[in-house]
């Protein structure tokens, strides 16, 4: 990096300051200029043959756009996701054709499942040889077709500028999602004028739908008469920035709220009206309240199978109000009595206005009996774990991390048991404080996504919580963090197992532990040191807090190897296909 900077200074006269051009410029520069015009200052990528022209321009645009050279394309897309999830801005990844594009596929699918705004630019072989099985050719458009919000194969340089502009529009409006722009190498070399055209779109129907105020009003009347209402809120609240509006509405109504895994942070976990997460590993109270409710108010959610369990027994006595920006989510799994296609924030703000104009009513008193039931459940089965004198409990790691970060860190989780413990035991207080791979459940997501998040939000403490399995899927990006001096903090919950699979084998396959043993793993502390990072280990409860603090105090990349009890299980758990009220509690 230092060497690169000195070279940069020697050829500083080559650095372009983007200006309006009527002179034809090559496709690669059109791309860079369009990126800058769409507000991009950060790109995660890895070069290759098909994107050489683009990288040549990237070099010239290095003042305007910081490129982070990842070590594997999956890392580029997850980092771009982390960047997008932490800020709501569109994340950008740039990869080459063939294997570059296929390596990016997991990240694109991950972003698609969780509705994350991304623009992924893939190189392609020259148009003349497309379809001839050329070197590093793959049908990127075809491979990514089912996992994108939209995609482009740009065959003419004249279409490039518009494709980029439209891609950013599509990725970020309505229900966000990933957009792929596949650009053949020759297109990046062809000349064309840069037109600064921004609105020449063929179809713009992805704009957020207008909220049906009438139906919302009817729904609100129903909410006001419900005896056992529950607000079930998800990722849509986070994406639309609806936290404040949600807070106002539920406080005025005095209703209980349960966030989904994707909705955590959208409503403060510590709020007196928060029942904790619902679903497969949700709290006893949240699942019981949903099971007993007479009105489920579902906002920015899609009735995911990990939430509902056995569908016929999910909120069986409840009518449903369903507010979602995606009309296809409404009625897909559960038919609502009160369907409202709307942006969650818009709908909640209107609801809040409606409530204000109605004047104050003491709904809390009206719901006194309901809260009585809820408080009984909370008392009977709180989230808890028994600490041990001899070994560190994974839940204890999360609680201690919460303590040493003052509950303020952005937590980026990988996928598995540690993800559920983090969701259960780190109380989140604000939107976008919790980042995880919810829909696709991508092991390996955590570390690169945390790097992207830390780059996006340098003033916040970001901590990645990963398992010893997922860590080994993408740990190559540690060196990227080192290279760019990103103070990445990675906490490995090391139980020597693919823990969640082991738990299921223990509970549902008579303890036949098939291919889950990870006791043969690298020495993570030495590995960290090999990368030039700080490696720290804790084995006993007594040293845990000091070790976590030591890593947080270090100005640089830290890898914690936290050795936790090997066979701890995540509770409560709703067995797959079971009714969500039938939780196994311990």
């Amino acid at each position: 990096m230092l060497e690169a900077v000195s070279i940069a200074q020697n050829v500083a006269n080559e650095v372009h300051v983007p200006t309006i051009s009527v002179e034809p410029i090559r496709g690669a520069e059109i791309l860079m200029r369009a990126l800058v015009d769409n507000g991009v200052d950060t790109v995660f990528g890895l070069p290759g043959g098909a994107v050489l022209h683009i990288y040549d321009e990237m070099w010239r645009y290095r003042e305007a756009v910081t490129h982070y050279l990842v070590r594997h394309e999956q890392g580029a897309v997850h980092a771009a996701e982390g960047y997008a999830r932490a800020t709501g801005k569109v994340g950008v990844a740039l990869v080459t054709s063939g294997p570059g594009a296929t390596n990016a596929v997991t990240g694109i699918a991950d972003a698609y499942m969780d509705s994350i705004p991304l623009v992924v630019i893939t190189g392609q072989v020259p148009t003349a040889v497309i379809g001839t099985d050329a070197f590093q050719e793959v049908d990127t458009f075809g491979i990514t077709l089912p996992i994108v919000k939209h995609s482009y194969l740009v065959r003419n340089v004249e279409d490039l500028e518009n494709a980029v502009n439209e891609a950013f529009y599509l990725a970020s409006t309505g229900k966000p999602g990933p957009v792929v722009i596949d650009i053949p190498k020759d297109v990046t070399a062809q000349l064309c004028e840069y037109r600064e055209s921004r609105t020449d779109f063929l179809s713009a129907q992805v704009d957020a739908p207008a909220c049906d105020r009438e139906m919302l009003g009817v729904a609100l009347e129903r909410i006001l008469t419900a005896k056992k209402p529950v607000f079930y809120v998800g990722g849509g609240v986070v994406t639309s920035g609806a936290s404040d509006a949600l807070g106002k509405v539920v406080e005025a109504l005095g209703v209980p709220v349960t966030p989904t895994l994707m909705g955590l942070g959208g409503f403060p976990t510590a709020h007196a009206q928060c029942l904790g997460m619902l679903g497969m590993h949700g709290t006893y109270t949240a699942n019981m309240a949903v099971a007993e409710s007479d009105l489920l108010v579902a906002i920015g959610v899609r009735f995911d199978d990990r939430v509902t369990g056995k569908l016929a027994e999910f909120a069986p006595n409840a009518e449903v109000v369903h507010i979602d920006i995606d009309a296809s989510n409404i009625g897909k799994i559960r038919k609502p009595q009160y369907p409202v296609v709307a942006d969650a924030r818009v709908a909640l703000e209107i609801m809040s206005e409606m409530l204000t104009s109605k004047g104050a009513t003491n709904h809390r008193e009206r719901l006194g009996d309901w809260w009585g039931e809820i408080r009984e459940w909370q008392k009977a089965v709180p989230l808890s774990c028994e600490y041990s004198e001899f070994e560190i409990k994974p839940q204890q790691v999360i609680e201690t991390l919460h303590e040493v970060t003052n509950g303020d860190a952005i937590i980026v989780s990988d996928v598995g048991q540690h993800q559920m413990w983090a969701a259960q035991f780190y109380p989140f207080k604000r939107n976008r404080q919790w980042i995880n791979s919810g829909g696709l459940g991508t092991m390996g997501f955590g570390l690169p996504a945390a790097m992207g998040a830390q780059i996006a939000v340098p003033d916040r403490q970001v901590v990645a919580i990963v398992g010893d399995g997922g860590f080994q899927m993408t740990n190559q990006e540690i060196i990227t963090a080192i290279q760019y001096k990103v103070p990445l903090k990675v906490l490995i919950m090391n139980n020597g197992y693919l823990g969640m699979v082991r738990q299921w084998q223990e509970m549902f396959y008579e303890r036949a532990y098939s291919e889950v043993d990870l006791s043969i793993s690298p020495d993570f502390v030495k590995l960290a040191e090999a990368y030039g990072a700080q490696g720290l280990r804790a084995r006993t409860p007594g040293e845990l807090k000091a070790v976590l603090q030591e890593g947080l105090d270090f100005d640089g990349v830290t890898i914690w190897d936290i050795v936790v009890s090997k066979e701890e299980n995540v509770f409560p758990i709703v067995p797959v296909g079971g009714a969500s009220r039938n939780m196994i509690l311990k």
Binding site: P146, S328, G331
Partner: protein, 172 residues
């Protein structure tokens, strides 16, 4: 139940595969699919015949509507409509009797003979999918060598009040 859905989609490479891909990815069935230009050459209309309950059709419409290059999706079959499919049928006629039999079926079904040789005929028929099915079924006692069907196209009737019979009488 059978439904006919019409989808106005940008006439651009890859857009049709997006629709077909969506059907297979979501487990929706395609009985027939046809595509052609609309009055505006930059837009095409795809007509898809699918099997499914009302909820499935609702999902198909909503899912297709999410595509960025799709302008309009409607269930043609939810309103009075006209549907037509065309078939080209190659049938062997090994005797005068068989030829007479085919000719009488052609007359009954208002089909056309579009090609003929000593021992074979090519027939053209257009009508509802059911009518085409029935015609082919009636030809089966002869040797049917090849059938090419166009898939169904459909359009909504001008008046929602007019019954099928009245509209047919009016020459529709």
């Amino acid at each position: 139940m059978r439904h006919t859905i019409s989808i106005i989609v940008a006439n651009q490479p890859g857009e049709l595969s997006r629709i077909v891909g969506l059907f297979s990815a979501r487990g929706f069935n395609i009985e027939t699919i046809t595509v052609g230009k609309t009055l505006e050459p930059e837009w095409s209309k795809a007509t898809v015949v699918t099997l499914g309950d009302d909820r499935t059709v609702e999902q198909i419409i909503k899912q297709c509507s999410r595509l960025a290059r799709v302008r309009e999706v409607k269930a043609v079959t939810s309103l009075p409509h006209i549907e037509r499919e065309m078939a080209l049928i190659d049938v062997s006629v090994r005797s005068g009797d068989e030829r007479q039999e085919v000719m009488s079926l052609v007359e009954i079904f208002r089909a056309k003979v579009v090609d003929i040789s000593h021992d074979r005929m090519i027939l053209e028929l257009s009508g509802t999918m059911d009518k085409v099915d029935t015609f082919i079924e009636m030809l089966r006692p002869m040797t049917v060598n090849e059938v090419t069907r166009s898939g169904c196209v459909a359009i909504n009737r001008l008046s929602r009040l007019m019954s099928d019979e009245v509209a047919v009488a009016a020459g529709a």
